[in-house]
Structure formats: structure tokens, C-alpha cells
């Protein structure tokens, strides 16, 4: 950075007579541009810090009033006197639904991306890509209402099937009745993050260097072997980045989960029985009727979500950074 900005001025002084006029103008623009970008860059930090400070400042009164352990209590009775609330169930639910959504969405998304980049003829791939991107533009409340009012029925059937055939697994152990469950919320969430993961990884796959692919084919690899040896290793950092973006969306999703989860405040791996809740959904459903302490408590839970998201993003950054070096070295 420092060398590139430092470079233009000394050579400009060298050439002699004509140098004086063009020298000043680019320098002024240079400074202005540099100032603008630096300000924009700093702004992000300022906003993040401001959000954190605001959340902590608002959360403290409720946390000091809290009669239960904020980290281990499952229930959320923040409006009571004395208030008793904790994030155990909501934070657990947030992570559980997000992880299941990723498990369901990522394989499908990668399949779609590979199909679009390497298998489908271009005439089909381009419009199909558009359609996938269109899915990202559907508002989450629409997904939520669809999940709550229509999609729950097939999921009910699926739950029954899973319980009858795999009921010995604790996660499918619930005997019903089947309604809104972690499974329903996770599937809806999976559909919502599908387009993000798909379009990002498709872009990465398409940028695989042609000589890598051709080299693999020349060595006698089949198409699948070529993808496995050339495309996937090259795209790995991109895949991870797209998955992490999808995870970020899943963790913060609010209204779709508020509509499709059962709203039961309990730490449980039961996927098919009525149950599930998440931090964001809890905030959305309780903010309207919350009293002062209740509101402060909800903000405290927002702080936890903020922290979870921050950690996830940092891990993602670290992974992407390390992998890129590795892939760059091997390529």
C-alpha cells in the first residue's frame, strides 16, 4: 500500500519541464480518494463497535436483575418479577437449526453448482442460474408462511416415516403429534440458503483454470475424476466462503424461523416433535409485549447472537486464508 502511493510523485518530478501541471492534479485526487476509502473502511469498524457498545449498554440492566443463570437457564420469563431468563435453549436452537440447514443445503447446492458449471449445456445453465438467484430474492416471511401453512404437511408425513423406520435414533424418537418442529424450520432454512451457496460456488467452479482441467483429462481422468482432482481442490476456499456466508444468513434468520419453529424453550436434540426456538425468532415474537427489563433481556440475547456470528465469521476467515495459501502453492 505505502509503496504504491509513494511511487507516483518522485518519478513525476524527474522528467523536467512539463511535469509541474499534471503533477498536482493527480496528487489532489489521489489524496481525496485515499481519504474517502480510508473513511469508508474505518466506518465499518466504528459501526461494529457502536453496535457492540449499544448492545452491552442496553443489556446490562436486565443481566443484573436476572434471577437465573443467563447462560444455563432454558426458559425466557423476562417480564416476570423477578425476571428469570437464559439463552441456553435459544442459542442451542439457533446453532442446531443452522447446522442442520447447512447439512441439508450444502450437498444439494454444490451439486447444482457443478451441474451448472460443468455438466449442463450453456443454453440451459444460464437461465437456470437466473432462477436460482431469483430464489434469493424471495422475502423470508414468504418462506415462513409457506412453511407454516403448506409445507408442514409433507414434513409431517416425513416425520412419521422417520419415526417409524429410524425411531431408535433419539433425534427421531418423538411419537408425535407432529407439527412445527426443528426439522420443518431447518428444511425451510435450507431452501433459503441454497441460492447463496449455489451461486457463489458456481462462480468459483467456473474459474477453474482450463489447463488444470485439460491436464487431468489428458492423464486419462473421467469427468468425475477431473472434477474431483482439478475443480474441487481449486474451489475449496470458495466453497468454504460460500458455506460460511450461508451459515451467517441461517444464524440471523428471524421471521421464517419464528413462523416454523414450535417455540418450545428446551435444549433437546429431538428433531421431529413440536419444538425448537432461536435467538432471533425469540426476539421477534417477544419484543412487542416486553416491558423494560424484558426488552433489555432480549437485547442481551441479541448480544449473544452477535458474538456467535462474529466467532463464526472469524473462523471462516481463518479457514479461507489458510486454504488459499495452500491451494496457491500447489497449483
Amino acid at each position: 500500500m505505502a509503496t504504491t502511493t509513494g511511487v507516483p510523485s518522485p518519478p513525476a518530478a524527474g522528467p523536467g519541464e512539463g511535469g509541474s501541471l499534471p503533477r498536482k492534479r493527480p496528487l489532489g485526487a489521489e489524496m481525496l480518494f485515499r481519504g474517502t476509502t480510508t473513511a469508508a473502511g474505518t466506518m465499518v469498524l466504528v459501526i461494529i463497535v457502536a453496535i457492540a457498545v449499544f448492545l452491552i449498554w442496553q443489556a446490562v440492566p436486565a443481566l443484573t436483575d436476572n434471577d437465573a443463570n443467563f447462560l444455563t437457564e432454558e426458559n425466557w420469563y423476562a417480564n416476570d418479577n423477578p425476571p428469570r431468563f437464559g439463552i441456553a435453549a435459544t442459542a442451542f436452537g439457533t446453532v442446531l437449526t443452522a447446522v442442520i440447514a447447512l447439512l441439508l443445503a450444502v450437498p444439494v447446492a454444490l451439486g447444482i453448482a457443478l451441474c451448472l458449471s460443468h455438466y449442463a449445456p450453456k443454453r440451459v445453465a444460464t437461465p437456470l442460474g437466473f432462477i436460482i438467484d431469483l430464489l434469493a430474492a424471495v422475502p423470508s416471511v414468504v418462506f415462513g408462511l409457506w412453511g407454516r401453512d403448506y409445507f408442514f404437511e409433507p414434513v409431517q408425513g416425513l416425520s412419521r416415516f422417520l419415526h417409524e423406520n429410524l425411531g431408535w435414533l433419539p433425534i427421531f424418537g418423538s411419537e408425535g403429534p407432529y407439527g412445527k418442529s426443528v426439522l420443518l424450520g431447518s428444511i425451510v432454512l435450507a431452501i433459503m440458503i441454497l441460492p447463496i451457496v449455489t451461486s457463489l460456488s458456481r462462480e468459483v467452479f467456473m474459474q477453474t483454470p482450463a489447463q488444470n482441467e485439460e491436464a487431468a483429462l489428458a492423464l486419462g481422468a473421467t469427468k468425475w475424476e477431473m472434477i474431483r482432482t482439478a475443480v474441487l481442490p481449486f474451489g475449496r476456499p470458495g466453497i468454504i466462503a460460500s458455506v460460511m456466508l450461508g451459515l451467517g444468513r441461517a444464524l440471523g434468520e428471524t421471521i421464517a424461523l419464528a413462523l416454523t419453529l414450535g417455540g418450545v424453550y428446551k435444549v433437546s436434540f429431538d428433531l421431529i416433535g413440536p419444538g425448537g426456538t432461536s435467538i432471533a425468532a425469540n426476539i421477534a415474537t417477544r419484543f412487542g409485549e416486553a416491558n423494560e427489563v424484558g426488552r433489555s433481556a432480549l437485547i442481551a440475547s441479541g448480544l449473544v447472537l452477535f458474538a456467535i456470528t462474529l466467532v463464526v465469521n472469524m473462523i471462516a476467515r481463518a479457514i479461507v486464508y489458510r486454504r488459499r495459501e495452500f491451494v496457491g502453492g500447489s497449483a
Partner: protein, 366 residues
């Protein structure tokens, strides 16, 4: 065929036009026989009110009717919750609040008194919303439930529809072995508070979860707002939930008969709910009409499970520019004509004795 349909459309349109025209002329005549027979004592200005979503439909209807008669008045009611309403009232951004529960002694009352310039805030019971036990069970029409059975269903002790407890309440019905999906409110709600209060008073040995706006019993499924509960009951076989009557009616849900303190299974009607209200005790003093509902009422024919929502307003110390309109509007809503308008919306009108007290109290506002 096509011609016929056109003819039908035309005649419908004609009828509608005639009806509208009739309405128009009614309003001009002083003794018109429209719905708004008793003319409101019009005042002008604008009011902002905020609070309970349970009385939102009633307020909308009243505001529409009032503004039709009184052209110079603008009234807004924002139905985003009792808590928000009370906060807005004490913060002086609402002229009166709608609330499912009376102000709590202590902080809430102190703040409201300060807001009223040191005068006491009044509770005017205005809207009575019966709570229906709505269910979805194919082949079972006249379900009857006792409070203890309801408490067992909602605490998860009774899990299937053919459980002995339900059989005992319905000796003649054939009950399927469907699993029960008990549905409660996810958001904090006055409906939940009244329902849990009812269970605690009528089935104290079974219902051990106390009363409160937040649901505390284990199990079941949570839904957002009354429309969420009603919608979930409608689409889930074997579901049961508590929801304001209007929502049960709109969704055409079956409504169970509930056993009252006299030992009768009573169907939910406006009249039956009114009988419980007239048995309610006034615990406020003077014009303050805080009610305590006797859920265990022994009166014959009374439907015990009801929700009373209040308007909370300053007894004295209302700003001079707002007072005439506050007084006029609340007198209108407490009038017998105003109460009558609510019947078609699924609310129960206040019984005459209580209504007269509320109307008199509204007239004393200063």
C-alpha cells in the same frame, strides 16, 4: 348462461347502490334507524390511543362508526400490545391505553398517576372477548370439557383424545385415539394470562404453573398471535387451543362447551359470557371500574372463560384540547348502541348494569 350471469351481476350492483343510497339518507335524518341509532355527542380534534390487540377489531369498528358521524374527529388506535399501550400512556404519547390487565400496583400505577398530574387513572371495562376452546377433531361435534380436563390437556398429562378424563366429560361421544396437539400463544398475551388465571382458579390441584402473560407449561406447540393459533388449529388434526371467539368464528372452528361452577357444560354465546361479567366484582373505587372475574361462578348458564379489556384513562387532568373528544368517544363506546355493534365481531356486549356504570364513569372525565 352468460347473459344470465350479467343480469345477476347487474341486479347485485343495483341492490348495492340502493342500499348505499338508503344508508346515505338515513344519516341525514335525525331519527334514522341505522346501526348508529344513538347519536354520539360529537367533539372535534384528534386522539391517539394504543394498546391491547385483543380489542383492536372492536376499536376499529367504533372509530369507523364515530368518525362517520363526527366529521371533525380523527382517532387512531394502534393495537400493538397492552404493554406498549401502557408505556405510551405513561409516556404521554397516547391519550388513553387499551389493556388486557389492570395497572399493577406500584410502579405502573405511580407512573400513570404522575402522568395524570397527580390524579388517579381510571379503568373502564369496555370490551369483553370470550375465549373459545377451539378444536379440530373429525367426527366429534359437541365436545364438552371440564376445567380439570383442560388443565390436564394443556399441561401434557392427557395425551390422546380417547383418554378417560375426556371420556368422562363426554359419555355419549365416540372419541378417536388421535394424539392431542395443544396449542398456546408464543408471544406474551393477555389471553394467556386470563386463560392461565382461569385454570389456576378452577383446577388448582392440576394447574400448577401459575398465571402470567408468558406460557409456562411444558410441551405443546406455540403459535404467534391469535390468528396463528386459529390457523394452526384449523390445519392440524387433533389440535386444541384457546383463542378469542372472533378468531374461532372467522376460521369456522369447532368450539367446545366448558363446564362452569354450577356444573353445567355451557356453550359459548354472548349472553352466556355476559352472565359471567355481571357476576364480576368491582374492585376499583368510585368511577374506577377494575373488575375481578369470578371464574368459578355458580350462576346458571354462565360461560366462565372470558377476557375483559379496559381503557385506561386519566380521571382528571386530561389536556383541555383533548378532553371533549376523549369523553365523547368513550361515552359513545360505552353506549348500548356502541356495545351492540360488537356482537357481530365475536365480542360479548357488556351487561346493562355494568355498561351503565361505565357510561356514567366516562361522563365524569375531566
Amino acid at each position: 348462461m352468460k347473459l344470465k350471469r350479467h343480469g345477476l351481476l347487474a341486479s347485485v350492483a343495483l341492490c348495492a347502490t340502493l342500499a348505499l343510497a338508503a344508508c346515505g339518507s338515513d344519516n341525514e335524518e335525525p331519527g334514522g334507524s341505522g346501526v348508529d341509532a344513538s347519536k354520539a355527542d360529537c367533539a372535534t380534534g384528534s386522539l391517539n390511543a394504543r394498546g391491547s390487540s385483543a380489542q383492536k377489531n372492536a376499536m376499529d369498528e367504533w372509530i369507523k362508526a364515530y368518525q362517520q358521524q363526527c366529521s371533525g374527529a380523527t382517532i387512531n388506535y394502534q393495537g400493538d400490545g397492552s404493554g406498549a399501550g401502557i408505556t405510551a400512556f405513561t409516556g404521554n404519547t397516547a391519550d388513553f391505553a387499551g389493556s388486557d390487565a389492570a395497572l399493577k400496583d406500584g410502579d405502573e400505577t405511580t407512573k400513570a398517576t404522575t402522568r395524570c398530574g397527580g390524579n388517579a387513572p381510571l379503568h373502564l371495562p369496555m370490551v369483553v372477548g370470550p375465549i373459545a376452546m377451539a378444536y379440530n377433531l373429525e367426527g366429534v361435534k359437541d365436545l364438552q370439557l371440564s376445567p380439570a380436563t383442560i388443565a390436564k390437556i394443556f399441561s401434557g398429562a392427557v395425551k390422546t383424545w380417547d383418554a378417560p378424563e375426556i371420556k368422562a366429560d363426554n359419555p355419549s361421544a365416540t372419541l378417536p385415539s388421535t394424539q392431542i396437539l395443544a396449542i398456546h400463544r408464543q408471544d406474551s398475551s393477555g389471553t394467556t394470562e386470563n386463560f392461565t388465571d382461569y385454570l389456576g382458579k378452577t383446577a388448582p390441584d392440576v394447574w400448577t404453573f401459575g398465571k402470567g402473560k408468558d406460557w409456562k407449561a411444558p410441551g405443546g406447540q406455540a403459535e404467534q398471535k391469535s390468528d396463528g393459533v386459529a390457523g394452526a388449529i384449523k390445519k392440524s388434526a387433533g389440535a386444541i387451543g384457546y383463542v378469542e371467539l372472533s378468531f374461532a368464528q372467522v376460521n369456522a372452528l369447532s368450539i367446545a362447551k366448558v363446564k362452569n361452577g354450577a356444573g353445567e357444560y355451557t356453550a359459548l354465546t354472548g349472553e352466556a359470557a355476559g352472565k359471567t361479567i355481571s357476576g364480576a366484582k368491582v374492585t376499583g373505587t368510585g368511577s374506577d371500574l377494575k373488575l375481578t372475574i369470578d371464574y368459578t361462578t355458580k350462576q346458571a348458564g354462565a360461560y366462565p372463560l372470558i377476557l375483559v379489556t379496559y381503557e385506561i384513562v386519566c380521571s382528571k387532568g386530561n389536556p383541555a384540547d383533548k378532553l371533549p373528544l376523549i369523553k365523547s368517544f368513550l361515552t359513545f363506546t360505552a353506549s348500548s348502541a356502541g356495545q351492540k355493534q360488537l356482537e357481530k365481531l365475536g365480542y360479548a356486549p357488556l351487561p346493562e348494569e355494568t355498561r351503565a356504570k361505565v357510561e356514567a364513569a366516562a361522563k365524569t372525565l375531566a
